[in-house]
Symmetry: C2
Subunit: 228 residues, 2 copies
DNA sequence: ACAGGTCATAATGGATGCAATCAGTCCACT
DNA sequence: AGTGGACTGATTGCATCCATTATGACCTGT
């Protein structure tokens, strides 16, 4: 947005554009199903369409964008089934990632987790809430040297972010209470060094969210039957 | 062999080139750490560098290629730790994928699994063996409508293929016997409809392979310490 | 009025050409 | 002889231009 500087200096333009579009999708600025026009992006970033196209290819591989040859690009939209699949995948992977992170969860880190959980309870803004939630969980995923798994989990979060946003907007007080309790229980388990319990809590937390999501099919527009 | 590609269905040049390079990496024609020159690829496919660059971006996102700005592209090489990580991920995901595939595993499919397992035991050629192994497992991953998880697993297989090749080349007769037994046990469990057991077998099968891989650090050259 | 077909517009896909950057080599200097 | 720096060849990054394709409007015919 404020990146109007036409510097050819730092990293490549395609990387910058990919980053910008990714952020726009995650922030809700672009919504699932929305058309992405190459030239518009090129103009916005002060370049030609070449780096834009490379960025879109990359985002397609990340699952954030859908490309159709000779036709165009759209922000990827998921069916409820696909979204559920991602959550089932997360349910299996994030406990594993948490386990690998165990040794890096110092008292200091756990302290900041406590702070994040508190701020979430006080948060009134949807976007802030989503950001805090993400920060909270990824703070527990500190595994160093293991980039593969964390990058994978990051992508899974990214592709489902629009639906997490939509769902969070209409969750009731009771479920929100449970949501926060999960977080506090997770912090307690980590503080006690009970990783076995911590893994279970994460898995249940993700599963609970998935089940709740599946109760809101209205979040997933069934407009595009052919989704590849 | 035609089922192993997660690419889009369009026939654009960049998709074709990505497919070709992917296949070259999986077949061992390109080896980890090997330099990839854009112009060479462009010439080989009778085009310009533009689609080549898009293909490389895509392959980078898939974890098969490593790009460095203004410098070049290399076939991605993994450390033993990263490879192990992928196997741990597979150990969690493939049982889940298998479970989702249960309803599609008809008698006919199980019959073909039996055939594949047999052909593997008789196979003397390394490349054929690898291909049959891949076909065997992906034949069990028939989940329809669930493309997310299967594509993910496909990518995990792809990124570790070179090391699977290197390892398979120096496995002894005893381990090979166990390897085949796993396959036969899996077919039996599927034939009995005992999905719980089948999931366990797959998990153990993957774990066993990982542990064996970790006994062969010589497969992983430690030449590139800075791996992003 | 509706169905079918034709054409114009717009957006994408790709080729060529030029500027920027990196790697290796050679040379000067200590 | 070893070290540091400039130069050159090679390669990547990007912009401009042209070809191709899809989409939607318009028109014609029934």
């Amino acid at each position: 947005m404020s990146e109007a500087t036409p510097t050819t200096r730092d990293g490549s333009a395609s990387a910058r554009i990919a980053e910008a579009v990714r952020r726009a999708i995650l922030s809700g600025e672009y919504q699932p199903g929305e058309r992405i026009v190459q030239e518009e992006l090129a103009e916005r970033h002060g370049g030609s369409r070449i780096p834009v196209r490379e960025a879109l290819r990359q985002l397609e591989s990340e699952g954030l964008v859908r490309l159709v040859a000779n036709t165009g690009a759209w922000v990827q939209s998921l069916t409820m089934g696909q979204c559920s699949e991602v959550y089932q995948t997360r349910e299996r992977l994030e406990p594993l990632l948490l386990r690998h992170s165990a040794e890096h969860l110092t008292d200091e880190v756990i302290q900041s987790l406590d702070g994040l959980a508190q701020r979430m309870e006080n948060s009134q803004d949807l976007e802030e809430f989503l950001e805090l939630d993400r920060q909270f969980h990824f703070t527990t995923y500190r595994a160093e040297g293991t980039h593969v798994l964390r990058d994978l989990v990051t992508r899974l979060w990214n592709t489902t972010q629009p639906y997490r946003r939509a769902y969070t907007g209409l969750v009731d007080a009771e479920h929100m209470r449970i949501f926060h309790d999960d977080h506090h229980m997770l912090v307690s388990a980590l503080r006690d060094g009970d990783m076995k319990l911590a893994e279970q809590i994460v898995a249940i937390h993700i599963r609970r969210t998935r089940v709740n999501l599946e109760r809101h099919p209205e979040i997933f527009p069934h407009t595009t039957p052919d989704q590849e």
